[in-house]
Symmetry: C2
Subunit: 435 residues, 2 copies
Amino acid sequence: MPHFLSTTDADFETRFAALLTMKREDSPDVDEAVAGIIADVRTRGDAAVLDLTAKFDRMELTAEGLRFSEDEIDALCAEVSNAEREALELAAQRIRAYHVRQMPDNQMWTDPDGATLGWRWTPVSAAGLYVPGGLASYPSSVLMNAIPAKVAGVERLAITVPTPDGVANPLVLLAARIAGVDEIYRIGGAQAIAALAYGTETIAPVDKITGPGNAFVAAAKRRVFGKVGIDMIAGPSEILVIADKHNDPDWIAVDLMSQAEHDESAQSILITDDAEFGRAVAKAVEKRLETLERRTIAGKSWEDFGVVITTRDLDEAAELSDRFAPEHLELCVEDPDALSEKIRHAGAIFLGAWTPEAIGDYVGGPNHVLPTARSARFSSGLSVMDFLKRTTLAKMSPEALKAIGPAAERLANSESLEAHGLSVRARLDRLNEGA
Amino acid sequence: MPHFLSTTDADFETRFAALLTMKREDSPDVDEAVAGIIADVRTRGDAAVLDLTAKFDRMELTAEGLRFSEDEIDALCAEVSNAEREALELAAQRIRAYHVRQMPDNQMWTDPDGATLGWRWTPVSAAGLYVPGGLASYPSSVLMNAIPAKVAGVERLAITVPTPDGVANPLVLLAARIAGVDEIYRIGGAQAIAALAYGTETIAPVDKITGPGNAFVAAAKRRVFGKVGIDMIAGPSEILVIADKHNDPDWIAVDLMSQAEHDESAQSILITDDAEFGRAVAKAVEKRLETLERRTIAGKSWEDFGVVITTRDLDEAAELSDRFAPEHLELCVEDPDALSEKIRHAGAIFLGAWTPEAIGDYVGGPNHVLPTARSARFSSGLSVMDFLKRTTLAKMSPEALKAIGPAAERLANSESLEAHGLSVRARLDRLNEGA
C-alpha cells in the first residue's frame, strides 16, 4: 500500500513534511576505499587500472586491450537489429535537434562610458562519460550524455563502460558510435573515474566527467571534483503526476510504474483533486503489478515510497509539487500549459495525457539526465552548457578608465589592496600628464 | 627571484609541466572537524551556532542577536564616507547592467512531428552568500555575489559574515544593502554553511550557497553539496599577462603585484615575446616591492610562484596561456582582440594596456568570482545562471506520439524497462482503436 494523504486531513502537514525528508537511499560509505583506488591509479597508472579491473570485473586485460578497437566496435554494432538501430538513430537525431537550440550566443557591446564588455563561450577540450555496466547499462544514457558534448564542440570525448566477465552491450557501443564518441574504454568503477581525471599511460586525462554510476563512482566523482568538472551526483529517480479525473487510471498507473520499475528506491507520486480517481489509479497499479516483468522492484518501490495525495484543487497540487521539486512532472489535466505556469521547481515537465514520461527518456529530445532528490530547487538537467564555459571580456578606452577608474582605486584602498589601486593610478597619471 | 623560462630552452617542456602541476596551497585537512560541526548544527540548531560563534569568534550572542537588525545596519552604513558610498554605487550599477544581459530566454517550439518542446528558466527561491570576516572581508565580493542573485530573481537572499570580537565591516553592510540583500547574520565558518544548508530555529534554510571562505568553509560547502547547490570551491588567485615590448614595464609590474598582494599562494605570470622586456618588468617588480604596503605577502608570492616566460611569438604565448587556463588574463599587445580569438581557456580576459585587471575586480561589470587553479578548462565565473535553473518542457500531440512513440517503446524493451514501453503502448493502442 502506498502512502495515502489528503490535504484536508488534520495531520496532513506533518505527514507531508515527513515524506519530503524521507530517506530513500542508504549509500554505503565507500569513501575510504575510493580514496585508496584513486591514489593507486594516480601512482601506478595503467597497472593499477588493470589490477582493479581484474579484481572487480574478472577481466584480465593488457594496457593495449583497455580500449575497444574499431574492429571490435564494428563487430558489436553489427549484432544490433535494424529496428533497434533505427530507433537509436531517431532518438539521436531528435536529441541533437533539441540541444542545438541550447547553444548560447557570444556578446560584445560598448557602454556609454566607453567600456567594451562581453563574453564568449568555448567548449571543454576533452570530456569523459561514465556508463554503468550490467543491467543499468543504458544506450539511451549514452546518447543523452554524448550528444550535448558533441553539440557543444568537445573535441575529444571518451567513454568508460565496464564489461564484467567480458560481457559488452552492443547497443551501448552503437549509441556511442552514433553520438560521435572518440574513445571507448572497457573499465568501470572508481578506477575509471580516476583514470579519466588524472590520466594513465594509455588514457589521456579529460577536463569534465559526466554520467551516472554506483556508490563507488559517485564517491570518486565527488573526490575528483575540482581537478575536473563533474555533473550532478544522481540519486534514485522519481516521478510526480498531477492528474484530474478525466484520465484513464491505467495510463497514470503505468506511468507511475515506469519510474518504480527502475529501482526499489525510486519514488512515484500521484496528486489528484479527486479522491476517487486516486483510488482508481491505485487499483490499476495493483493490477499492473500482477504481470509486470519487474514487479518485484516496482512493487517494493510503490509499497515503500509510493504516494497518492488528494488536494482541494489543482493550484494546491502545483504548490505541493513545488515542495517535492520532482525530477519528472507529468501534468495530465485539461489545460496543462496553464498549470505549468504555476510550477517553479521541476527537472522536466510533460504536458498532457499524450506525453508519458517515457517519451522523454528516449525520443522526445530534452535530456533525460535530470536533477533528483529535490535538487531541481537549484539545478538543471544536463545540457550543452555542461560542456561549455564562459570567458568574460572587458576593454577600457582611456576615456572609460578616466570615468570609472577612480572608483576602482577608492574601493581597492578601502579593501587595503594598494597594488590594485596603483595599477589603475599608474594609467590615470599618464592620462593626466597627457591632458 | 621568480621562475624565468624561455621556450627555446632545452628543458622548457619539463620545467613548464612542473609549473602547471605545482601545488600552491596546502589545505589543512579539517574535514572531520567540519563533519562534527555540521552534525552539531543539524541536531542542536541555534544553540550549536551560538556555542560555535562564542568559541571561534569570541562573541556571546542570543538567538535574537544572530541577525543584524535594520537599526544596526543603518548605524553601520552611516559610518561609510560619501566617496566610498558613491564608488560602491557606481560599481553596483555597472555590475547590474552587465549581469542583466546574461538573463537567458525561455523557448517553446513545435517540430515537424507535432511535438511541442522547449524550456523555461526559473530562479532559485532562496540563496545564501558567505562573506569572510577580518582582512578578506571584501565589500566588492558582496556586490559580485548578491547582484547576480537578485538579477536572477532570487526572492530571499541571506548573507552570513562573521564578526570576530564584534568587529563588523561597515562597507560590507552597505554593499549588502545596495545589492538588495534581505537578511544578514553575524556568523561564519562551517557553522554558517551548516545553518544556511539545513536551517535552524532562527535561520531558514536556503537552496544555494555561494561565496569564498577558508578551509573550514570550503570543506563545509563540499559536504552540503547535494542538499543545496554550491558555487565553485575557490583556490588562490592568479593572473597571467601576455605583453609585448611596447608596454610600460611598471604598468605590467604593478598588474602582476595586484594578484601577488592577495595571498602568498597567489600566482603572477608574465609571458612576453621579448626577453629584455621580461627582465625590465622583473626589475620594475623589485622596485615596486620596495614600497608596497603588502610587500611581504606580494614578495613571497612573486618569489615562490612568480613566472616570466619568453616565447618566440605571441601565438606561442596564447598556447601556453591555454595550458595554464588562468583565472585572469591580460592581453597587453597591439591587437588584443585578435589575440583573444586564439584563447580557449580563461576566466576573464582584459583587452589592451588600458584595462588593468583591478578594473574587473570592482567596476568593470563582469563578475570577479572566477575559476581558479586551471578550472577555467571546464568552468565559468559566477553569473545569473548560478541562481537560475532550467525546466525542460515536452508536449506530444496524438500524431507526434504515433510518429515517435514506437521508437521509444522499442528502446524501452531493449533496456528491459517494460513499464516504460507499456506507458507508450497504452496510448498507441487507444489511437489505433480510434483509427
